[in-house]
């Protein structure tokens, strides 16, 4: 069995500073009741490795909210010349987002050079969740509250520091470069990690029970079966079409190609788009397959719980609960799923 490493909490700062030589390091920092990814400034005073996922989704480091994808007619790939990102404290729910983002941009059809470059170069330092918040329901989507794949290095926070697991050759190289900071993890430390994982697992289970969230095993056919249901119009009643649910979602991938309004300096931007916005599917001639807001809400669920399982065998939801927090209309994906599952 490969041995597990241990990083003493006093060595976190030198470790992150070591990484900062090669990467633009982003760390979760607590602000009020939320955590946000902030650029690492050399101090770990406010860094929160454990707890739960930050407010913003991981996808922002892989396809930027707004980026230039073409300059004039030049046959080049405009890339920012900065260092690649090292994203620290990434939670398992965000890593599941790769199942969808990779399918769209990397694995199927045309390979997107922007995404692939970021995917190859960025460093992902995952972390176990050390607690659950009310909106967490990852287990319902088959995601455990600790990373199991798609990370380069994973940190399991315990009392004295972190149990470290290496997940890729890229991660291996980073650990080797900072080898003096690590020691072999003790039996006791490994036990502490496992106990904590079991405790957080239980917390999420209780969350799911309390909020009555159906498990993904029950999702088969819920969209087709409820296509003409009144659930959609009922749930969409309070929607204000802001698109926050799309923006905040780790799996939403849709974008708009937008040309800079300047004929002399032609530049094409790729901007995150939202299928909740009325114009999303409208064609220039005026026809719109989804003119009503409830049709667009249904479309959002159709894409996540019908399209992706059919084309890629994955539900495009990670149980991160961000859309519940972000929605000003208090549309709760857990409740919608419950209604769809129960409406047999």
């Amino acid at each position: 069995m490969e041995k597990s490493l241990f990083l003493n909490k006093h060595n976190l700062q030198p470790f992150l500073s070591g990484i900062a030589a090669d990467y633009a390091v982003y760390v979760p920092v607590r602000k009020g009741k939320h955590r946000f990814f902030k650029k690492y400034t050399g101090t770990t005073d406010e860094v929160v490795i454990g707890e739960v996922r930050p407010f913003e989704p991981l996808k922002a480091f892989f396809s930027r909210a707004k980026e230039i994808v073409a300059k004039g007619f030049e046959d080049t790939i405009p890339h920012a010349t900065d260092k690649p990102f090292a994203i620290v404290g990434v939670k398992a729910c965000d890593l599941k987002g790769f199942k969808v983002q990779d399918f769209v941009f990397k694995d199927q059809g045309f390979k997107d050079p922007f995404y692939i470059k970021n995917r190859e170069e960025n460093l992902i330092i995952g972390a176990d969740c050390t607690c659950a918040i009310d909106t967490c329901y990852c287990l319902a989507l088959g995601v455990k509250p600790y990373p199991q794949e798609d990370f380069d290095i994973n940190l399991s926070q315990i009392e004295e520091g972190f149990v470290v697991k290496v997940g890729s050759s890229k991660g291996e190289a980073v650990v080797k470069k900072n080898a003096s900071l690590f020691e072999e993890a003790s039996e006791g430390q490994l036990m502490e990690k496992e106990n904590q994982r079991a405790r957080v697992h239980l917390e999420v289970e209780e969350n799911i029970k309390k909020n009555n969230v159906p498990s993904q095993e029950l999702f088969g056919g819920i969209i087709e079966r409820n296509y003409k249901s009144e659930i959609w119009a009922d749930e969409a009643k309070t929607c204000v079409e802001c698109g926050a649910c799309n923006t905040i979602c780790p799996t939403c991938h849709c974008f708009l190609l937008f040309d800079q309004r300047d004929e002399k300096q032609m530049a094409r931007f790729r901007i995150w788009d939202s299928c909740m916005i009325k114009e999303f599917a409208r064609v220039a001639g005026g026809a719109n397959p989804r003119p009503k807001l409830w049709m667009r809400l249904r479309n959002r669920f159709e894409k996540k719980f019908d399209f992706f399982p059919k084309v890629s065998n994955v539900y495009a939801c990670t149980g991160c609960g961000r859309c519940i927090t972000a929605c000003p209309a208090k549309i709760d994906i857990r409740k919608v799923l419950r209604r769809l599952v129960n409406n047999a």
Binding site: D75, G109, D112, R261, M266, A281, V283
Partner: protein
């Protein structure tokens, strides 16, 4: 070699512009790199500093260095396209999507049905048939528009009626003194298509309402669902099934279409909207 950056338009010169109807023009375009396309595939045309839009070429696919597109003025980008002059520079991306399966059509009877603006992709398909003349059992062309003024390529269509390898009938919803063909909606001129429907192919391109009723008629006549080809032109933008705007059921119009066999899409809700 195709560009590694699929979002980059290829620099293209506007060679000529021909008005077709008061709000439709055909542009002859010459990209600096040839863009070989299969009939039925589409391209994205960029007006620098304005934006881009999807159009299916109306020209001969065997000519790759010059592409013609026939464009109706309906929105922001097309309004700017209608202001273009010969010599102006635009951009092209593509080709995208799946074309018509010409090899499968060989040796068979085919009816091609166009309505209104749908004549544009159909013209490209007809040129392919003409280039391969003799390789098909029989070809019927049925075309309809609201009035005689709305017909694209009117002179060419009149020429087609004289071809021995083609059976043509044209109709308008409302007749006038300038019209010496049929009057009535498109499905009314399909009864004269004399072929083995169960073995034949039907290609339909036109406004959704026309495709809906034409498909209904074709099924009644005995055409097989997988032998009816429809053009599902949605809000196609990236062209490669990533931006999400043109989803139809489990497909993307840009990647899996825009030409679909009816049986592939018939179970998706609201395909005609």
């Amino acid at each position: 070699m195709p560009s590694a950056n699929i979002y980059r338009p290829i620099k293209t010169q506007v060679l000529d512009i021909f008005p077709e109807t008061p709000n439709i023009k055909t542009l002859r375009l010459k990209p600096v790199e040839p863009i070989p396309f299969k009939t039925g595939q589409f391209i994205e045309l960029t007006v620098p500093g304005v934006g881009e839009g999807p159009f299916t070429p109306s020209s001969r696919p065997s000519v790759a260095d010059v592409i013609e597109v026939t464009i109706m003025k309906v929105g922001k980008v097309t309004a700017k396209i209608h202001e273009l002059k010969p010599g102006d520079i635009v951009g092209l991306r593509g080709p995208f999507g799946q074309g018509y399966p010409l090899d499968e059509f060989k040796g068979r009877e085919i009816v091609v049905i166009g309505g209104g603006c749908g004549f544009a992709p159909i013209r490209s398909l007809m040129y392919s048939f003409f280039d391969m003349s003799g390789q098909f059992k029989k070809i019927f062309f049925r075309g309809g528009c609201k009035t005689s003024k709305d017909f694209l390529y009117r002179n060419e269509l009149e020429e087609w009626t004289k071809r021995s390898d083609l059976n043509v009938e044209l109709t308008v919803d409302k007749g006038d003194s300038d019209w010496n063909h049929k009057v009535g909606v498109v499905p009314t001129i399909l009864d004269s298509v004399d072929m083995d429907y169960a073995q034949g192919f039907a290609v339909v391109c036109g406004p959704p309402i026309m495709m809906k009723f034409t498909t209904k008629k074709l099924l009644e006549m005995g055409f097989k669902e997988n032998n009816i080809f429809l053009s599902m032109e949605k809000n196609m933008s990236c062209g490669i099934g990533k931006c999400g705007h043109c989803r139809i059921g489990t497909y993307y119009g840009c990647k899996d279409g825009p030409v679909f066999r009816y049986d592939k899409i018939k179970n998706f809700p609201e395909i005609w909207d």
